[in-house]
Symmetry: D2
Subunit: 134 residues, 4 copies
């Protein structure tokens, strides 16, 4: 299984008064990684929106200002009507797993109506699908 | 079981290009509600920090700019070393459940070391604990 | 001159690793106050968007988690094609001026094309206009 | 005069219900650029904090999801007790100036007390100082 990797430099605004990245920002980082994955596959032109129906993170170790977060992403499941995305977010400076997140998205059109993922998207994403699920 | 209720007026900045509240902002709203709960119990002076170890939301229905989100919160579990918080977030203008979230927090001191919840906090929070768990 | 007042309880996520409200969040608080002003005047139904063309803040004193920010807002200038908004943001717990901000907005329609403020909006907002400018 | 350049890919969360980057996020992008400048000069280890005392932006043209913002930054003034930073933020996909921002920062120590910028920082930053101000 291939994983998509994205490095994110922690900005000051992501930190909170405990000096660590706020837990809500991990979800934003997951989405930021998904954006880079779609760009890398030239899928950014597809007129598809993917609202989240489920999102969760387990937090293990903090990230601090200016540290590198390394996100390793793959796809747990993909179908015409949903994609289940899996993210390991590492504190790359300290080589510790910072969080493990899962997000389920469903395709809709611009009017927020259910839509099918087209074959092109499914095919291109397939290289990141968990082997055991193929 | 008593639920703690908090009304939140959706600000413009919480919306995204689909015109709905970004999924990450639901987690922030949960935390904002927790803050109000603690204030209502005069617990804000306790020198306790509660980092999240787990957070999840299931999304059902969107929230838009200037709508009222009504958060109904209660406690699923409380122990010396964790609290499991449950949130129903309603689109109050349309009387629809917008999201259902669960967050698990663990007490630490200012140096991010594990700490015990003191009896005062546990006692005050107990009125919001799910009856079936008592 | 009448000022519009809005109280805002500082949430955890607004703070940064220095333990104070991040400077960008003052701009969001200004916008949040403007929303409340428009709601108080029953202007929320007007199909008008007000993108910012200028925004500035001078920062004097920090705001911390769970403190009350008291925003005192009035209108410096209003015309068909712009409104200049003035905000004093107070740290109400310590009775210190935290920041002074000015924001200039211009009306556009949903397609981002220039539009005129209608008479109803101008009339309702006029009670908050700086007397010396009338 | 040398300018420091930083490319920023607009994430979904930065957009609002008008489909454009929220005005407050330009200030965050300025700070993100400053972080990269400091890293590029190996100044990230300096135990200096630089709270903002003044921040302003003039907005000219929108930025949308997944567009590249190109930030061109230089220093208008630098002294022992302040730095005035200047940012041109371009919509690089459409080759339009999106915003022009100015931020004034003052050095403090970890206890938020005024501090001097040390010679090392001033020297390293000097290559980005506006020639006419030297």
């Amino acid at each position: 299984m291939k994983k998509f990797t994205f490095i994110y430099k922690v900005p000051w605004v992501d930190t909170d008064a405990l000096g660590i990245v706020h837990f809500s920002n991990y979800f934003r980082l997951c989405e930021r990684t998904e954006q880079e994955l779609f760009n890398s596959l030239n899928l950014e032109g597809e007129e598809i929106f993917l609202p989240r129906v489920h999102a969760k993170c387990d937090y293990r170790y903090p990230l601090k200002f200016n540290q590198n977060a390394k996100v390793m992403m793959h796809i747990l499941e993909i179908g015409r009507r949903h994609i289940t995305l899996d993210y390991e977010i590492w504190n790359d400076d300290e080589n510790k797993l910072s969080a493990h997140c899962t997000i389920v998205v469903v395709p809709v059109d611009k009017d927020m109506k259910s839509a099918d993922l087209n074959e092109n998207i499914i095919k291109k994403l397939s290289e990141y699908v968990d082997d055991q699920k193929k």
